[in-house]
């Protein structure tokens, strides 16, 4: 049963009890007052009937006396009229005395009947024909009969009044008694209602107190508990839901602890990985640095070696080798200077490489002007080294052969990404151009052979133009590796 239903039924029971008490009170009062009314009414009306009877009998006797003495027919009619009245009061008296159950009723009826019979007999005779003695005898009979009746009726009237008074007292006493009983019953029922109310409030509040205590304990972190409530009402439902919630909370808390532990482990691992990465970065920079240094050492060794050579060709070969090593060393330098150790800022690299070559071949930059249009395309080391070597070979070739006899001219280096995402590297000069019948497949030049091989290595497409000087165009796909 739900709490609302319990409360409504409790309220209805209380209302019912109060109404029952009121109803009982009303009914008892009504019954007593009806009884009182009926009894008093019977007594008083009985008294009126008997008084009426008595009065009619006296009137009848008066008429009878007159009739017997005068023989007047009017008196005879008076007797008949009074007989009618006597009969009426006799019946009325009988009706009221059914309730009173008077033992004298039969006697009165008998006496009245005798009296009426006497009256009837008087009406039958003609007084003129009767002797005085006979008349006196009839009168005496009449008087005697009336006197006897009066003796019975007088105390009866008094008895009626006494009974009415006694009954009134009795009824009043009964009313008081019923009030007392009703008060006692009402008090008893109210006490029961009070006790019941306390019981109901305890019955409803007990599980609530249990729940409150349980919530307090859970607030303090104690999840190893359950509320014991067996009722089927809302509180019972609440307690069951609460227990389910505590169980779920417990499971969630366990999962959360495991998760926190896992997160901590992952953070540690990440920190370790980061440390390891930093270590490797440092190591890689160091490697690039050392490789560059070693290459510079090799280049310096070639430089030293050239001082002991007299053969110009050998010196030239060593210089070319030295330039190639430098171009590679520059790549490594750019790499360890780049923030991610992968991409090389090619515009800077090409500028530096060209300066080195101008210095190496002692070419005046005013005579052979260098125009650089190199986009900063990030290239990895696998692409950057062949690209650097290609640029090195082609600029070297231009500086060596394109401008003989201090001829002035221009060298242009450009590198861009075309809309197809391909890198277009162009090195051109305004020099004397390639000799007639030049073919890259048949050339004896190591530099150009290297250019061809390196172009193939980066899967590039090499084109040569011979319009106002020489131009090389290499298109290759950028294969950039993500850091």
């Amino acid at each position: 049963m739900k709490i609302r239903e319990k409360l409504i039924s409790a309220f209805l029971v209380v209302v019912l009890l109060v109404l029952s008490i009121e109803f009982a009170n009303f009914t008892i009062q009504k019954r007593l007052s009806n009884q009182f009314k009926k009894t008093v009414e019977n007594e008083l009306l009985g008294t009126i009937a008997i008084a009426g009877l008595k009065a009619s009998m006296y009137h009848a006797m008066f008429y009878a006396d007159n009739y017997l003495n005068s023989g007047n027919e009017e008196n005879k009619k008076g007797i008949e009229q009074e007989i009618k009245e006597i009969e009426k009061y006799k019946v009325l008296h009988e009706v009221y005395h059914i309730y009173h159950k008077s033992s004298l009723l039969g006697l009165i009826n008998k006496k009245v009947t005798n009296f009426v019979n006497l009256l009837v007999q008087i009406t039958l005779i003609s007084p003129q024909r009767l002797s005085t003695k006979k008349i006196q005898s009839l009168e005496q009979k009449l008087h005697k009969s009336l006197s006897e009746l009066s003796h019975i009726i007088e105390p009866m009237v008094e008895e009626h009044f006494f009974n009415a008074f006694k009954m009134e007292k009795e009824i009043k006493r009964e009313i008081l008694e019923s009030h007392k009983i009703l008060w006692e019953i009402g008090s008893g029922i109210l006490s029961l209602i009070l006790l019941w109310g306390i019981g109901i409030s305890y019955y409803i509040s007990k599980p609530l107190v249990k729940l409150t205590k349980a919530v307090e304990r859970i607030g303090k972190g104690n999840l190893d508990m359950e509320v014991e409530v067996s009722s089927e009402d809302e509180i019972g439902q609440l307690a069951r839901a609460f227990n389910a919630m505590v169980r779920n909370l417990k499971k969630i808390t366990v999962s959360r602890n495991t998760f926190a532990k896992e997160v901590k482990e992952r953070i540690n691992t990440e920190q370790k990985l980061k440390a390891s990465l930093r270590e490797k970065e440092v190591l890689l920079k160091e490697i690039h640095h050392r490789v560059k240094n070693n290459m510079q050492v090799i280049s310096s060794l070639f430089n030293l070696q050239t001082r002991y050579l007299k053969d110009e060709n050998a010196i030239q070969v060593l210089k070319e080798c030295q330039n190639r090593i430098r171009s590679m060393a520059l790549i490594h330098e750019s790499l360890y200077r780049s923030p991610n150790l992968i991409d090389i800022r090619f515009s800077e690299y090409v500028k530096q490489l060209a300066n080195n070559l101008y210095a190496s071949y002692k070419v005046n930059p005013e005579r052979v002007k260098l125009f650089l249009d190199v986009e900063d395309i990030p290239l990895d080391i696998e692409t950057a080294i062949p690209c650097g070597l290609i640029i090195n070979e082609l600029i070297s070739n231009a500086l060596k052969h394109a401008f003989p006899e201090n001829k002035e001219g221009q060298i242009r280096v450009s590198m861009h990404l075309n809309p197809k995402g391909e890198v277009e590297l162009q090195i051109s000069d305004t020099g004397v151009g390639l000799p007639d019948g030049f073919s890259l497949e048949n050339t004896e030049s190591l530099g150009l052979k290297l250019v061809k091989l390196l172009s193939e290595q980066i899967r590039g497409k090499l084109e040569i133009t011979k319009n106002q000087g020489t131009g090389f165009k290499i298109k290759f796909k950028k294969e950039h590796k993500e850091p």
Binding site: S20, I21, A24, E80, L92, Y96, L192
Partner: protein
């Protein structure tokens, strides 16, 4: 356990209070009856009391007197009258009524006077002392007056009326006591125990006014169910008792 016991106590107390309010009607009846029917009614009453374990207070008086008492006291359950006019006059006081038997007026004369009165017309004889019921008090008085008025000699007969008694029983008493010579009473009274030395003369059919006896349930009844039960009893089983006491239950 406590709650179930408490609930039961609560229910009992409610029923107790409700039962206090429900009043049981009294197993008592007040019956008014014309004095001419005293013998069959007495037997019916005692039989009904015995069969139904009830108490019946019977009041015997003239029909009009009974009616007067009912009107004044507003008490009573049953009214048995040999005069349908009286029941109809009761109007609002009667709830329903049932036929019981017939009341046949007859002329009765003292046996020693029988030679002088052998027919209804002989009532006109100036020496005849005729007694009739008081028309204001009993049914037979009213009917007798009507019968006399229907006769050719109404004037002479009415002059011979020496007494008008309150009840029909009084007429019989006077006749037996030889205070009167003739009277108009009910045919069934001829079988009354103290009847002696009287002779019956049938009233000519053209003059006679046969009455129906009806039992009526009064509006003043406090136990209508029991009153109806008694009325039906009188009009069914009671018929045979009426027959036993000389009443006609069929018109002829």
């Amino acid at each position: 356990m406590f709650i179930s016991v408490f609930k039961r106590c609560l229910l009992y107390s409610i029923f107790f209070f409700i039962s206090l309010g429900c009043t049981q009607p009294k197993r008592e009846l007040i019956v008014y009856a014309g004095k001419g029917m005293i013998f069959p009614i007495k037997e019916i009453v005692s039989q009904f009391e015995r069969e139904h374990k009830v108490k019946i207070h019977a009041i015997y008086a003239g029909s009009n007197e009974c009616l007067e008492a009912i009107k004044q006291s507003k008490k009573g359950d049953i009214f048995i009258s040999g005069y349908l006019k009286a029941i109809k006059r009761a109007n609002g006081l009667v709830k329903k009524h049932y036929f019981v038997a017939y009341h046949v007026p007859v002329l009765v004369v003292r046996k020693d006077f029988h030679q002088k009165i052998i027919s209804f017309q002989d009532l006109a004889n100036p020496q005849t002392r005729l007694g009739i019921g008081n028309p204001d008090m009993c049914a037979i008085g009213d009917i007798a007056q009507k019968i006399i008025k229907g006769s050719k000699f109404a004037h002479q007969i009415l002059q011979n009326v020496h007494v008008k008694t309150p009840t029909v029983a009084d007429l019989l008493d006077l006749l037996v006591a030889k205070d009167i010579d003739a009277a108009i009473i009910w045919e069934d009274m001829f079988k009354w125990p103290h009847v002696k030395d009287i002779a019956m003369i049938k009233i000519p059919t053209r003059l006679n006014d046969i009455q129906e006896i009806h039992v009526a349930v009064l509006a003043t009844t406090t136990n209508e169910k029991l009153a109806s039960q008694f009325a039906k009893y009188v009009s069914s089983k009671g018929k045979q008792i009426f027959k036993k006491f000389g009443f006609r239950i069929t018109k002829n």
